[in-house]
């Protein structure tokens, strides 16, 4: 019916609206799941101060009771969402500061690190992946494979430490983490595209390689690579947790790690919501692009 009333454009907009609704649902569920995760974690209702030997039994019990106030994750989440509509996100239990202030201070740090790291990683992967796939020289492939394998063989935490040692910013570690994870895809997509029968046929007919690449190979690779772009954003944000924690960079990753260790419910729920919002937004845009490129389902 929708198709009859609105036509192809109408269907497109309905699909986009459906995708947007789905993103909102995911966002709401992620926040709730984050709150439930904290609630399930052992030690969610104890405070580090409770092992202070100078504290009396009464004080220890009082501190414990204060921590246990947000016992029900659902009721906490409902209250949290209602205060969120007023622009409040509660107070951090670890830092004793307003969560909005903490996030505000740190978001720009992480956004810069992750953004620059992703840009470097994608440029390097696209250039190198395409060059290796087009070169047809096994030695080049072996070299590139060894390079990506080397980058994959170093734990994110150690990469962060090495970057620090070399006086490189944490974005270098993010780039080094993301690059080897996207390079094989770029290479595989370009190589597979070049091996398709009609491409081989075109090459046999003498169509210039650049034209073949731009018109026939790249469009086929675009879909999976756009999907990968969405994933790489999430990957970079996830990588920022150990990188920032070990490099002592005051971004969201470090905040998330300390909040996780301290069972800081308001901070963890806010960060979960923020990361989900970024993930769903990026995936939404990549799906939209896929849709525009001709893949129907979003």
């Amino acid at each position: 019916m929708i198709k009859i009333i609105f036509g192809a454009r109408g269907r497109f907009f309905m699909q986009v609206a459906g995708r947007a609704l789905r993103s909102l649902l995911v966002l709401a569920l992620a926040g709730l799941a984050g709150a439930a995760l904290v609630r399930l974690a052992p030690g969610w209702d104890v405070d580090e101060a409770q092992v202070d030997l100078r504290l009396s039994r009464q004080s220890v019990e009082r501190i414990g009771a204060e921590r246990a106030l947000s016992r029900n994750p659902l009721s906490f989440y409902m209250k949290y969402l209602s205060s969120l509509t007023r622009g409040e996100m509660g107070r951090s239990e670890v830092y004793g500061q307003a969560v909005a202030q903490l996030i505000g201070e740190r978001f720009s740090v992480t956004a810069r690190t992750v953004g620059a790291g992703l840009l470097i990683a994608w440029c390097a992967a696209l250039l190198l992946g395409t060059a290796v796939a087009l070169s047809d020289r096994p030695a080049v492939l072996v070299g590139a494979t060894a390079l990506t394998a080397s980058a994959l063989s170093i734990p994110a935490g150690l990469l962060a430490v090495f970057c620090l040692l070399a006086r490189l910013p944490p974005l270098a570690a993010i780039a080094a983490i993301v690059f080897p994870r996207i390079f094989p895809h770029v290479y595989e997509q370009v190589r597979a595209g070049r091996a398709r029968p009609y491409v081989l046929f075109g090459r046999g007919r003498g169509i210039p390689p650049l034209r073949m690449f731009l018109w026939y190979v790249l469009p086929l690779a675009a879909g999976p690579l756009i999907a990968l772009a969405g994933v790489s954003v999430t990957l970079a944000f996830s990588a920022s947790i150990p990188v920032e924690a070990l490099a002592d960079s005051a971004g969201l990753g470090q905040l998330a790690w300390k909040a996780a260790l301290g069972r800081d419910l308001p901070v963890l729920v806010t960060i979960t919501l923020l990361l989900t919002a970024i993930t769903t937004l990026v995936n939404f845009w990549s799906d939209l692009l896929l849709l525009c490129l001709g893949d129907t389902a979003v």
């Binding site: 935490g157 994933v231 990957l235």
Partner: protein, 268 residues
């Protein structure tokens, strides 16, 4: 260049065989502490030197290799199977099934899984054997880690599903299962392989990262992760370069995996 691929396969097989035979090949018990020989350089008695507690590095490396390889391969198999099923079904079925599964993927990608790992690790019984702890860790990482691959697989399925040969095959009346088996799965092989290559080192490193945070495989059982954690003391590397042995071994394994599992025609 086939020789290189062959070399990589031989290296992997040799590493797997040697590490599986660690119980017989290791010169010492991996947990035994020779406290009067702590921090020694390589010698005939200790071929790769000893660690700070006097444990034989060579014996620990053999056992670490076995532990980490089994963990990574098991975890990668679990994760890739889940990703293939969920991503494949989402892309192939479309409609509300796709919407629901894609939402699940988004949710899985968004949640702080490191926190879940911490939580489940803390909930495990304390008197578990190291092997039970390894299995639990592997299952957990696998169950949490399939989503990125599922999204890529879904995109590939979408791409192939709407390609001309598939549309033609569908128009010819081919049934779904035949479409899947004959046309879709063979086209997915490159992406599944790429994801698997990516997963193995990723999960090797997930264990290593947990080791760096002190939450890896329990002492005294060694793993590549716990041995790599020693590299945090990078100052010591110039005076004790044999500390790099686990890093080089991991590098060798990961590179060989990439080379060995590359499609044969790549080399032609």
């Amino acid at each position: 260049m086939r020789a290189i691929r062959l070399l990589a396969i031989v290296f992997l097989l040799a590493t797997a065989a040697i590490s599986l035979a660690a119980d017989w090949l290791a010169p010492h018990d991996y947990a035994e502490q020779f406290r009067d020989h702590a921090g020694e350089p390589p010698s005939p008695r200790f071929p790769a030197g000893t660690d700070e507690l006097g444990r034989d590095r060579a014996s620990r490396l053999l056992h670490a290799c076995r532990t980490s390889l089994l963990l990574a391969l098991g975890t990668a198999s679990l994760a890739i199977s889940l990703a293939a099923i969920i991503g494949g079904v989402a892309g192939f079925r479309g409609g509300w099934v796709d919407s629901a599964l894609s939402s699940l993927m988004d949710l899985m990608l968004s949640l702080p899984w490191l926190f879940l790992l911490l939580t489940v690790r803390a909930l495990l019984p304390l008197n578990t054997s190291p092997s039970a702890s390894i299995s639990a860790t592997a299952a957990l990482i696998g169950l949490a880690g399939w989503a990125p691959a599922a999204r890529v697989i879904r995109a590939n399925v979408l791409s192939v599903r709407n390609s001309a040969p598939l549309l033609y095959a569908r128009a010819c009346g081919l049934r779904d299962y035949r479409l899947l088996a004959v046309h879709l799965l063979p086209n997915l092989k490159p992406v599944l392989r790429a994801q698997f290559w990516i997963f193995v080192p990723v999960f090797l490193l997930t264990e290593a990262n947990l080791g760096l945070l002190g939450l890896g495989i329990l002492e005294p059982m060694p793993s590549l992760g716990s041995m790599l954690a020693e590299l945090q003391n990078y100052d010591r590397i110039p005076s004790a370069p044999w500390m790099l042995t686990p890093a080089f071994l991991l590098l060798g394994i990961v590179t060989s995996l990439h080379l060995a599992m590359a499609e044969a025609k790549t080399w032609e």
